[in-house]
Symmetry: C2
Subunit: 222 residues, 2 copies
């Protein structure tokens, strides 16, 4: 092994993370962020090494604080990708009473999607709307998940701004960061129109890693 790079000398993970955030802050230079969103932007850059996210991420007013309040009140997370579920710190979320759901691999979802010729992501969102829970939606993959959430909101099958559920789920936040080339930009723009607290990666970029990084940044700054 290269003598300048001894395996035994490397830093422990916590130190590596600290050093990484220092490098990110340094390279951002004059670009500074409101303290509420700063940890989110930097954790996404940390997860991607892509500084485009300094410009791409759009936050509705106090989206981070509002989602943190929802989590404090026991909100759960519904995601459209098992990769995002794998990356979210479920132990940390559980400290507040919430859990992470992903229905994408459920057999009833697959059957229903096939029957109606719609995507499993869309059916998954319907399933979530019927949970009667307080939910933060996290989309890292499927634009159809976002379109369905928008539709469910429009048709009052999902409730925003409420503390009482009547079988319908309450949506406390939407993290809209699917990646892709088809339908993705438009689907994310739809979420920007909603009154639900939201964090959107505008444009094509995003992904499960970005989704998990945003959720973890929200959890770690609570």
């Amino acid at each position: 092994m290269d003598k300048d790079f001894d395996y035994k000398d490397i830093m422990i993970p916590a130190d590596i993370e600290k050093k990484s955030f220092e490098i990110i802050t340094n390279e951002l230079g004059d670009r500074t962020f409101d303290p509420e969103i700063d940890p989110v932007v930097k954790r996404v850059i940390h997860a991607t090494a892509d500084f485009d996210y300094a410009d791409n991420l759009s936050f509705s007013e106090h989206a981070v604080r509002k989602m943190q309040n929802a989590i404090r009140n026991g909100a759960s997370i519904v995601t459209d990708t098992n990769m995002a579920k794998a990356g979210i710190n479920k132990k940390k979320l559980a400290e507040f009473g919430g859990e992470v759901y992903c229905f994408m691999a459920d057999s009833d979802v697959a059957e229903e999607a096939k029957k109606r010729s719609i995507t499993r992501a869309a059916v998954s969102m319907e399933k979530a709307a019927g949970l009667g829970k307080n939910i933060i939606f996290v989309s890292g993959n499927a634009p159809t998940a976002l379109m369905k959430i928008y539709e469910l909101l429009t048709e009052n099958k999902l409730i925003a701004d409420s503390n009482i559920t009547d079988g319908r789920s309450i949506v406390s936040g939407i993290i809209a960061v699917p990646v892709g080339f088809v339908h993705v930009v438009e689907a994310k723009e739809l979420i920007l129109e909603t009154k639900v607290p939201h964090i959107v990666a505008r444009g094509r970029k995003g992904g499960s890693n970005v989704a998990a990084a945003i959720v973890n940044a929200i959890l770690y700054s609570m």
Copy 2:
């Protein structure tokens, strides 16, 4: 919902993927790739919407074909992140007899790492080396995983170029795409020095999504 963007009109996922690859090919313009690596490069761009990967990805000679041969012979995958494990098409890999291992959350790995003050990723790679299996290593997260693989190779605790195992694992490929700001670039350069078939995302960029996309591209073009 916007009239120009009716949920019912959207394409099915297979068509979206096809259209996405057409867009990527079109935007790459004159940049063409050897047919062996073309599906890998494009699937990574598909997973990230980041065209930097057209330049970042480095392939050793016939790395894709060699890893496909290993998979045909039943090679398994060991990854340093549960997110990558979640994203890899395990059903497809199982058709050839392989499975995906990730030891990062194992309690024995955590204990050993703590005892020796090294990372869990490094201990995970040691555990993999002792499996006595034919393995493709996939790192989407931890540079220390790559450094440990390099060390194990140097110390002959992992065998390359062999069909016979004596308790040590045989390494048939290394997909080295961790993301990050500290130790990451150097760790990836170490893998470029090895004679093991490898695919490396040079520079800072990479991640679990990139790792899973590369493995899936290799599987889908078999």
